[in-house]
Amino acid sequence: MEQIDNPGRERILSRIRSALTKPAPQHAAMQAAQIFAPVFDPLARFQKECTDNVAECILTPDSDATAENLRSLLQRIPSGEVYVQDAPVLRRIAEKSISGRPIRWSSEGPPNEASQATITLAESLVASTGSVLVASCDGGRAASVIAPVHIVVAGQDQLEPDLDAALTHARERGLAARNSFLCLITGSSRTADIEKILVLGAHGPRRLVVLLAQHLD
């Protein structure tokens, strides 16, 4: 794109710099507080938080059992295309679980608006909030929001005790540097804009399902 003419930039910066020459009172240095209670059992906590967030968490021993669960989940979802992140582990699982309906792989492009469900991996799971961290590399931006059902395939080794740990770990792995998009998803799309009454499925999924395998291989 053409270079933007932006004379305001220097003027704003110089106003900021001259404003900051006037010292403002400093906050008294405080002891770093323990803000959140520590999480002792990440798995149990994750399950509890999912329940509270009206998200579904299904524990499975391995990827075969995940495939079995996925098959029965899909049986109860109206016929039509599902969108799947093109990853080796999901290829293997899809082979055993998805039949009788078209699959669109993320390698073929973004999901169709009419997808019945999307199936993706996640970068990590946050126990303290029952959240799923996804990035562009997990099937893209729309994959986790466009369909009525979003199914996340994950392994227990992806559990982080809390948000601080998840964000620190994300930085260490260069997640923000490698992806133009990250999203911490907690439960399904919802609104309470009408008389504070909770309604699920505002713009995005009505259901968020996490298939959580003890060992995902």
Binding site: I12, A33, S136, K196, V199
Partner: protein, 474 residues
């Protein structure tokens, strides 16, 4: 009195007829219960508030450094950053961009900054269709109204009001055979159907930003509905608009800021979608816009930064907690203020953004009870800033000459003990005579503004000093 002040007084006195207080009360009671539960989930809520305040304070006191770091990283990913000095600069940039890109339809996520700069009318003037996609914002847009509340724009409406509105304006999207016409789930479904069409056809998505993360060059957007998600995934241009004060130093800061924003805003532990976006779709990515623009808005903020006493006002994360806590907001409602930002934060901020002379009256739209300060998640000393604005207004803005003269006389009187004693003697005796004549409460009674609604206090026979001397003698 300024025009804005007259309008505020009129709207405030009519507020009970404009909006049923019952609707507001129910909504705020619901919020309070949820927020209390939310705070109890923290081991140390006070510690969390302190930490958030420290994060924002650090960012503000090195604002140039963090903004430049943010800009450099966004540009490195192929995004664009535009620095807008005024609302007009920001509007023109977005409107010109939309024109150049042949945009016909815009999907907008909730953004108070977009409200502040009146972006939607500017785009509509260019012939574009602009859809508010947050449900509450969509509802008030259909009613051609500004949002009632920072977080809950349609707080003043009942489901019956919304059902009536949708039946008129969204007939094509309502389920014809719905038995319960005002069922919130049916209403949400109708809005979803209407807005999906907009999402799929829009060429431009506009969002605000809750935070700008300097060290990874990403904008953080928080929604429950996921409308920001669709608006930043499907259209080919994404524009994020944010005040310059939104920057925070590090990605890890969000580990506290996200839960605190959610708890203070709605009582949730964390909001459903906390999205981070750092650029347009990269070459190896599946989807996302071709262009990513960030508009950084000053519009008076750098002047507030230059006021060391009130610099911390820029820490605000727009959670709306002070509105919910404020007895004035609860009584007069959001629309009476006639400003983009209402409630205590609006009363503090608006004189800085739009002029102390025109908006000084908002400093008095407070009982100074301090409820706002006690709930602020970033510990802004809101009610003291209202006092400071009052003081500044007395020094610099227009005040009636009678008020100035009265305070001069009062001050002179207070400065000498004999003058003070004489004035007290005069006051006691004059009032006693007045009341003895049965003129209490009449136009001659100087205490009438007080006694109009309250019983007149008994007038003491002796001054305090005389009583004190007598007590010493005993």
């Amino acid at each position: 009195m300024s025009t804005a002040a007259r309008e505020f007084l009129l709207a405030a006195s009519n507020s009970a007829t404009l909006t049923p207080r019952e609707t507001i009360r129910r909504s705020i009671e619901h919020y309070e219960a949820a927020a209390q539960r939310g705070r109890s989930r923290f081991l140390d809520w006070e510690g969390a508030r302190r930490k958030c305040s420290e994060i924002k304070w650090e960012a503000l006191n090195h604002l140039d450094k963090y903004l430049l770091e943010f800009e450099q990283r966004v540009k490195a990913r192929g995004g664009h950053v535009f620095w807008a000095e005024t609302a007009e600069d920001a509007r023109r940039y977005v409107a010109d961009l939309a024109m150049q890109r042949g945009v016909k339809t815009v999907v907008k996520s909730k953004s108070m900054v977009a409200e502040e700069i009146h972006l939607t009318p500017a785009l509509e003037k260019q012939g574009m269709r602009v859809f508010e996609t947050d449900l509450g914002e969509f509802i008030v847009q259909l009613r051609d109204e500004p949002p009632y509340h920072i977080v809950t724009p349609a707080m003043h409406l009942t489901r019956a009001d919304i059902a009536k509105l949708f039946t008129e304006k969204l007939a094509d999207f309502m389920t014809p055979d719905a038995t319960v016409k005002d069922d919130p789930a049916q209403l949400v479904a109708a809005a979803r159907r209407a807005l999906r069409r907009a999402f799929v056809s829009a060429e431009m998505g506009i969002t605000g930003a809750n935070f700008l993360v300097a060290d990874c060059g990403m904008v953080a957007i928080t929604t429950n509905e996921g409308n920001d998600r669709l608006g930043t995934a499907l259209p080919r241009v994404h524009v994020a608009i944010a005040g310059i004060e939104k920057v925070v130093p590090r990605l890890e800061n969000l580990g506290t800021l996200w839960p605190v924003l959610a708890t203070a805003g709605t009582g949730q532990q964390i909001t459903c979608y906390n999205t981070l976006i750092g650029g347009p779709r990269a070459a190896n990515e599946v989807d996302g816009p071709e262009e990513f623009h960030v508009v950084l808005l000053d519009n008076g903020r750098s002047e507030l930064l230059a006021d060391p006493e009130q610099r911390e006002v820029l820490q605000c994360i727009r959670c709306g907690a002070c509105l919910n806590a404020c007895p004035v907001f609860r009584t007069v409602g959001g629309h009476a203020y006639g400003t983009t930002y209402s409630g205590p934060i609006g009363s503090v901020l608006t004189p800085h953004l739009r002029g102390l002379n025109e908006f000084q009256h908002l400093s008095y739209a407070s009982s100074l009870c301090g409820a706002c300060t006690s709930v602020c998640p970033v510990k802004i000393d809101l009610h003291h800033h209202l006092l400071q604005n009052r003081r500044n207004a007395v020094h610099s803005a227009d005040r009636p000459w009678l008020e100035r003269a009265a305070f001069k006389l009062w001050r002179w009187n207070m400065m000498g003990s004999h003058r003070f004693a004489t004035a007290g003697w005069l006051g006691r005796n004059a009032l006693s005579v007045l009341y003895a004549l049965g003129l209490g409460g009449s136009a001659l009674d100087p205490l009438r503004p007080w006694t109009k609604y309250r019983a007149a206090p008994a007038i003491p026979k002796k001054s305090f000093r005389a009583s004190w001397r007598k007590r010493g003698a005993d």
